[in-house]
């Protein structure tokens, strides 16, 4: 049994948020749910904020990159798409979520492959499923769906059962095979 009295630690993310104050007001807004801190960033400042987190705050690992389509979401007033970047700080075991809102005609974001190599396939998946383009990505092809697929299947306006793509193969009969 330890008799040491632990020193009261500062709440996590305080140091990070203090460092991010260099951006000043109006660049990002902070929301939190339980121990999950999210930054909402406009697309134009996305790479700046991500690089500040990586270089100044020690969030070296991009652990997740994904997107959501909020079309028809009850009470939604912000943009239709939202791309989220989950960064991990190994030293402090902290995570932080950076969210970017995007809207419909040709949603495009700057690619972060040049800063995190691991973003390569994750950005391809977001492109494959939602049709969000990443400018500067070295090889932005579909990654899961077939090359000839024309739609973006995780968009909410895409029918769950598809548009007949899965029935376009020829049928092999006994005589032919």
């Amino acid at each position: 049994m330890s008799t040491n009295v632990s020193t009261p630690k500062a709440p996590p993310h305080d140091e990070t948020l203090a460092t991010l104050a260099i951006f000043g007001d109006g660049v990002y807004s902070v929301a939190s749910f339980r121990d999950n801190v999210r930054l909402y960033v406009p697309p134009a400042r996305l790479v700046d904020v991500l690089l500040a987190l990586k270089d100044r705050c020690g969030f070296a690992l991009l652990s997740e990159l994904g997107a959501t389509d909020y079309l028809g979401y009850p009470g939604r007033t912000r943009s239709r798409f939202e791309v989220h970047y989950v960064l991990l700080n190994y030293d402090k075991a902290e995570r932080i979520v950076v969210k970017v809102g995007l809207d419909d005609p040709d949603p495009t974001l700057p690619s972060v492959v040049s800063h995190w190599m691991g973003a390569d396939w994750m950005e391809r998946e977001v492109f494959d499923m939602y049709g969000i383009r990443f400018a500067g990505h070295p090889d932005l092809r579909r990654i899961l769906m077939p090359e000839e697929f024309t739609s973006f299947p995780l968009r909410k306006d895409y029918p769950l059962r598809g548009r007949g793509e899965r029935h376009n193969f020829r049928r092999l009969t006994r005589g032919e095979s």
Binding site: P159, H167, F169, R174
Partner: protein, 234 residues
């Protein structure tokens, strides 16, 4: 009912009349001991049905049950079908175990085409037979829409005994419908097979279309047929 005298040809009657051939057996025609009379088709089918080499096309959890069938507790070797080969060139029964994604369908068809004749196909589990619970844009709603299937196994996943039963059913099918040249299927289903092979079904419909509840894209839409076009978001 025939009397024994009618069913057995009289050996002393000789060849057909006007054939010019004279048969004069010394005694009566006798079948020696330990000799069986049968047809060549039957012998060939008998050999085939006890040496099925499966191609395990296991794409999902049904594949785990398929492994259990190969292991010692259920032991598919009792039916002569234990030689799982992972090269289609060496197989003659394909077991499609699990759901097949749309992107996988060309691969499945290619493997099926690479298997040498005669060949058979077992569709194992709810997903391979009908798509199962995965009625989504990416999952094929039954492999029988794209390759011929001989035996269907229901279940999610099927018990290993059901797979053994399917192997026994397939053996009976091979015995009853097989010839030296290949397989013709069950005699009572030859007409149906011909309808399929000649593609006399109307366009856009396959065997499942015979049920009458299928829409243009091969699945049932609640509320009846709908025009689900490329420009219509649902």
């Amino acid at each position: 009912m025939n009397t024994p005298g009618e069913s057995r040809p009289n050996p002393s009657a000789g060849a057909r009349p006007n054939s010019g051939l004279e048969l004069k057996p010394a005694g009566g025609l006798e079948v020696p001991e330990n000799t069986i009379l049968t047809t060549l088709d039957s012998v060939v089918s008998w050999c085939r049905k006890y040496s099925l080499w499966p191609m395990p096309f296991a794409t999902a959890c049904c594949g785990i049950e398929l492994m259990a069938v190969g292991a010692s507790r259920f032991d598919i070797a009792r039916f002569g079908a234990e030689v799982m080969r992972f090269s289609p060139r060496q197989c003659d029964v394909m077991i499609v175990a699990g759901r097949v994604a749309m992107k996988m369908m060309p691969v499945l068809q290619r493997i099926w085409l690479q298997m040498p004749e005669p060949k058979w196909c077992i569709s194992m589990g709810a997903c391979a037979c009908t798509g199962g619970i995965f009625d989504t844009y990416a999952v094929v709603q039954g492999v029988d829409r794209f390759i011929p299937v001989d035996v269907y196994i229901p279940g999610c996943p099927p018990r290993p005994e059901q797979i053994l039963r399917a192997v026994m059913d397939l053996q009976e099918k091979i015995q009853r419908g097989g010839t030296i040249a290949g397989t013709t299927g069950l005699p009572e289903l030859i007409d149906r097979e011909q309808v399929v092979s000649e593609k006399r079904l109307s366009k856009g419909f396959t065997l499942a279309g015979e049920r009458g509840d299928e829409d243009r894209f091969g699945y049932r839409i609640p509320g009846g047929p709908a025009s689900l076009g490329a420009n219509e978001p649902r």
